[in-house]
Symmetry: C2
Subunit: 237 residues, 2 copies
Amino acid sequence: MADSQVKALIFDVFGTVVDWRSSIIKHGKNFGRIHGLEADWDAFADAWRGKYGPFMNKVRTGELPWTNLDALHRMALEEVLDEFKITGISDEAKAEFNLAWHDLKPWPDSVPGLYRLKARHIIAPMSNGNIALMTNMAKNGGLPWDCILGAEVAKHYKPDPESYLTAVQLLGLEPHQVMMVAAHQGDLLSASKVGLNMAFVPRPLERGPGRTPDPTPDPSFNYVATDFVDLALQLNG
Amino acid sequence: MADSQVKALIFDVFGTVVDWRSSIIKHGKNFGRIHGLEADWDAFADAWRGKYGPFMNKVRTGELPWTNLDALHRMALEEVLDEFKITGISDEAKAEFNLAWHDLKPWPDSVPGLYRLKARHIIAPMSNGNIALMTNMAKNGGLPWDCILGAEVAKHYKPDPESYLTAVQLLGLEPHQVMMVAAHQGDLLSASKVGLNMAFVPRPLERGPGRTPDPTPDPSFNYVATDFVDLALQLNG
């Protein structure tokens, strides 16, 4: 096991720390009310999030230069509005709606769990979200991060190895002193390839009821926990 | 005045938030006890800090490639030990002593003041200290930063304009929405040259008793406060 050598825990955020889907649905409904629009906001949220991977791939392949996630979300929003045949929205209103991603609700255990984990470890987001997004989300949701790491400081999106290794280097640590915490098995396995420890915290409701992802934990995970409070209990003994 | 447009406060740290001198003297005395050494630790602290500017200049002029402050402190320590004729110290013990800079005591008003300022603003260090140093210092001293910015993410030391502008850009803000808080007038004026607001919080004891720096505030400062609690009162009304 990883145990006492682990000095820092770095977290996937969208899905692992916060419930992006119900939050974006809520912001969509609010956007609809303000602009007098009818739409299937559940489908809208899924469509917006669905463009996340493809847009990051444009950066990864060099089709786009380095572009932070706020700007990618904004480009994706144009396409989703188009697909949902929503027109006549000002640039200012679109920019405002794009900030929905700065205001995502933590899972019920996230804040109390992070406080417990913070007592003995450095805790930081290791997200593809940019620093402004993560900082505002932390203030809106009360997430007590010690510092904000992530793709933007590396100018590489996860799961590129540079993304994880930059975080390790900025913490002044070695990979075996850092543990990645995520609800997504691929994220953990990518971090492990460059030497980090892995804690799996499944979030069965991330994609909505009845869409449980990642059912069986990979046997190589150092920890499997039901939530962040459970992880703190397992780590702190 | 700056007022309600200011969304984020970014802080000089060494001297402004923490009392580096008395902390390094304390760590020096402890180092002396462990290794059975006699030295003038007040003078040792001043000599170590005195190498800060010259070593950063080596990076600024290209004599050294980008090197973070932990590594510059470590190189400076070699020179100071040499000057104080202290020999026979292992590399491990030197590396341990170098971490003194991660454990500097906040001024008495710093933590309560930062909590008050944090209620209405993003607060972040804008220091020449690297992210690991700032993160560990925050944990050791209870500094409730929202995120950690600074020279390392820009790969430019203050007062280079890139250092301030990178912080503004990573916050997703415009320069006029950010205020630099510092006990050093030159730091504030450099930030102002690229459009940031300025709050001056003098720390008359930074260099020890009887060595009061920066006595008269520049008339261009947006705020002059006696300490961080006073700054919060002036900003929050």
